[in-house]
């Protein structure tokens, strides 16, 4: 094959489509071909093992009926609000416990206790207290995000070099200045790690919570598809999950890493074009 098609230059002389993108597309096409081939070979009923064309038809039908767009938007809103809430609380409590011995002694054991209680255990109780829907899901997912952010912030704050704090205090810095100029920047790699871990946990939690406590969303689409034997819809839901996660990773998590810890040389950028 000539190299002219996959390296078409744009105005700046760079290829319009990179080799990595070609490889990615080839990977997706290979999976689709293998999937379709397996459908022909195995020859199971469509409700048991749907073919790519069944899934595509289900996708089109869900779009035409307005179901998919609304479910995607519901999931996206729930995810965004939950992650923001969880990160806000995790960061605040992480700094509070990390900076104050009093709060550490007071809250440490309680937070350790609640860390062991997974969000799934809370959902039945939240459904009774608040009911099905938005608030229950947001609280459950924010709870999932809270702990990784809190513990990573705590680790970050506790590993700040004391010599830097002492130097700042010697120069007459206030507690606020020490916090903003030394502690938070030093703890940032850990905070970002907590954010990344929490965002991943939140996504899994979102799908699970929607299966239990919602009447809409991608998790509900998968659950509803399984109860009505519409496996093509289940697969559409699974593909949407993957697409949503890729978007979250590309549009939120990687830029945050690039703009903070990679930019400041705190970690080496290992992000390929995956």
């Amino acid at each position: 094959m000539t190299n002219s098609t996959n390296n078409l230059p744009n105005m700046r002389g760079r290829p319009l489509v990179s080799t990595a993108q070609w490889r990615g597309t080839l990977g997706v096409v290979s999976i689709l071909v293998a999937w379709q081939f397996s459908v022909w070979v195995i020859a199971l009923p469509a409700y048991f093992y749907p073919a790519p064309k069944d899934v595509f038809s289900a996708f089109i039908e869900l779009m035409q009926k307005g179901i998919l767009l609304e479910y995607l938007s519901d999931s996206a809103v729930r995810y965004s609000v939950s992650v923001a809430t969880g990160v806000g609380f995790g960061l605040t409590f992480g700094l509070l416990i990390g900076l104050s011995r009093f709060w550490s002694r007071l809250l440490g054991p309680i937070i350790n206790f609640f860390y062991a209680i997974v969000e799934v255990a809370w959902i039945p109780l939240l459904v009774i207290w608040i009911g099905y829907g938005f608030n229950t899901i947001v609280i459950a997912i924010a709870y999932v995000v809270f702990f990784p952010v809190l513990y990573n912030t705590l680790t970050g704050v506790q590993t700040v070099k004391l010599v830097l704090i002492n130097a700042m205090q010697t120069l007459g810095a206030t507690r606020w200045q020490v916090l903003v100029t030394v502690i938070i920047p030093s703890a940032l790699p850990n905070i970002i790690t907590g954010f990344r871990v929490g965002a991943g946990f939140a996504f899994r939690g979102l799908i699970f919570a929607e299966m239990i406590a919602a009447g809409s969303g991608i998790g509900f689409l998968i659950f509803d598809g399984s109860t009505t034997r519409q496996t093509d819809r289940v697969v559409v839901g699974m593909i949407m999950m993957g697409v949503m996660w890729l978007l979250i990773d590309r549009l939120l998590l990687r830029p945050v890493e690039q703009a903070t810890i990679v930019r400041w040389g705190l970690v080496r950028n290992q992000g390929g074009n995956t």
Binding site: Q64, K65, G66, I67, R250, Q258
Partner: protein, 113 residues
Amino acid sequence: MTLPIHPAWRTPFLTVIGLVVVLILAAVVGRITSARTLAGIDLADRPDVVVSLSFTPERFHLEKFQDVGRYQGWSDGQAVILSSDPEELRRLARNYWIDAIEPHEVHNDKLDK
């Protein structure tokens, strides 16, 4: 012209801008469509309406109908909703999957002819 932001944030920034533009456009188109769809309906007192769809409604759609008013059932590609709430009806009419919304009386007249 380059954006005065860190290169890593360029794609997300442009995506958010694009998303906001799409949402605003969708909202405007929805309102225009809603006004056009409900043109022949007197929304002053809770009207009885007939909603036409090009497909059989699912639970998702039935829940929307129930939010609007008293859903009376589905036949011949149409759903009858009695005593509909004007604001909820406007919201329903913004959806692109709605074919038409007519007053229940007009619908009955058509059937009589």
